[in-house]
Amino acid sequence: MNVKTPSRLEKVLAAGLLAVTSECGPPRGSDPEVIIKKADLIKDYVDAVNITDNQTSVTRLCSLAACIRLKLMGLDPVLQMVTRDRNRIALQSDILGAASFDINNILCLSGDHQSFGDCSNGQNVHDIDSMQLVQTVRHMRDQGKFLGGDDIERPPKMFVGAAANPFADPFEIRVPRLAKKIAAGTEFIQTQCIYNLDKFEEWMKRVRERGLHEKVYILAGMTPMKSAGMARYMKNRVPGMDVPDELIKRLAGVPKEKQAEEGIDICVESIERLKEVEGVRGFHIMAIEWEEKVPEIVKRTGLFPRPEIAD
């Protein structure tokens, strides 16, 4: 695959190296130090850092501003953008805003429903959906045009990603859905958190059967569990999450003060296993409010140091 953008993440992937990305959730306030501290913790251990966009529909400092912070610190941010809160004018406008700071990665999402968040009485927009957002960014980048047809002066140069949830239903269309996202122009995929490794490997097998692993870079989503309680919460309360009972049992089987350590062990073991899966091109480590653990996970899985990539 040729490199089409200045994205560091794209260069690592195109070089055939296992990529590592992580993510930071912006604060519920305007203190930039929160983002800067989180970024400092992980910056030497990852190739790129996602900034979430009002995740779980809880209002936070905006993804774009936090991405600019990271960019100014010399990191390669991945701008997460949901279609829930912006119409096509605002989406294109924010893409240009990001491009003006040379933010070179975007992850196109629909976003959790607003009923989960702090503004459950609000409207949602969904003028376009996540797949159409992928098309929009590719159109802006490759054609150098707005959706309305006018030329863009200095088009965005963004490496375009999308999410995939191998565990959502109906399972039989999860691979066709990936094919559809690729057809829309998706260049990299970050998956939902993987706990059911067997099911993920089955999904990857079907991905390979259609040759899709050669058309898109797939980064496996990993979130270490802090406790058995967190695992139960993820299983029962988080939409589209597949947490096997054995995993909960394993965490619950160790004393409470050791569960976090066990969670990291499970995450490390999972990465080691998934490294061997053909078509897995890297890992997206989402250590939710636990960024300080990213270096340990990256080191223990032999993914450190990260490659030097010339800008």
């Binding site: 949830n165 959502a168 239903d169 559809k180």
Partner: protein, 222 residues
């Protein structure tokens, strides 16, 4: 049909408490079928209001009337000679009927007695569910006859999102995932391959986004 639901009586009382002659005006169409604003509900509301004012020691006249339709000038004319005898009209029609009545009787306050909810169908006695958002550009031919605009909580045209679980929507375990229904129906029609056709960005100018809409049919105009 247009599905409506009764407003809490306290809300209606708050709006009409200072009036002494009130007409409760029902509609014989959609709101009768969904049991929110037909002749029966007019009678029930009128009785409840009479009881309320009696308890308050207030002498208030409450009359009942149900028209064939409130969204039609012809039927609204039937109350022409009595409308201005009332301090207020409580319309149990949908929002269309309330407004048409208000336009027809410009100097009489018209108060809504129902909340207009959606375009839907009767699934079972006492259960109505949404089927259409009147977006003005029907895509049902492409989605297995199931509408993602009205039935997907994110109106996703290329679904399902990652929140679809056991055929249900992420926002409510009782709610069917529209995209699960679409996929099941495409499968039943032997058209599952159609799933991979990307639905293009929708033109919402025919929707609410384009401003108040009108349909003009010169061929049927008088």
């Amino acid at each position: 049909m247009i599905v409506a639901d009764k407003k809490p009586i306290e809300e209606i009382i708050e709006e009409i408490k200072d009036y002494t002659t009130i007409l409760i005006l029902g509609c014989n169409e959609c709101v009768t079928v969904c049991e929110a604003g037909g002749k029966k509900e007019v009678g029930i509301l009128a009785s409840a209001l009479r009881m309320y004012f009696l308890n308050q020691g207030k002498d208030v006249t409450i009359d009942e009337r149900t028209l064939e339709r409130q969204c039609d000038h012809e039927y609204l004319e039937e109350i022409r000679d009595v409308a201005d005898q009332y301090d207020a009209i409580v319309s149990l029609a949908c929002g269309v009927g309330v407004q048409f009545t208000a336009e027809e009787y410009h100097t009489v306050p018209v108060i809504p007695g129902v909340n207009t909810c959606f375009l839907g169908a009767t699934e079972a006695r006492g259960l109505w569910t949404e089927r259409c958002q009147a977006c003005g550009e029907c895509i049902l031919a492409r989605t297995g006859g199931i509408c993602p605009v009205s039935r997907c909580a994110k109106r996703i045209l290329n679904g399902p999102c990652g929140g679809s679980s056991n055929g249900k929507c992420e926002i409510n375990k009782e709610l069917d995932c529209a995209w699960q229904l679409i996929i099941d129906r495409l499968d039943a029609l032997g058209k599952l391959d159609d799933y991979e056709t990307i639905s293009p960005i929708k033109d919402w100018s025919t929707d609410r986004a384009g401003g108040p809409r009108k349909v003009v049919r010169e061929d049927v105009q008088l």
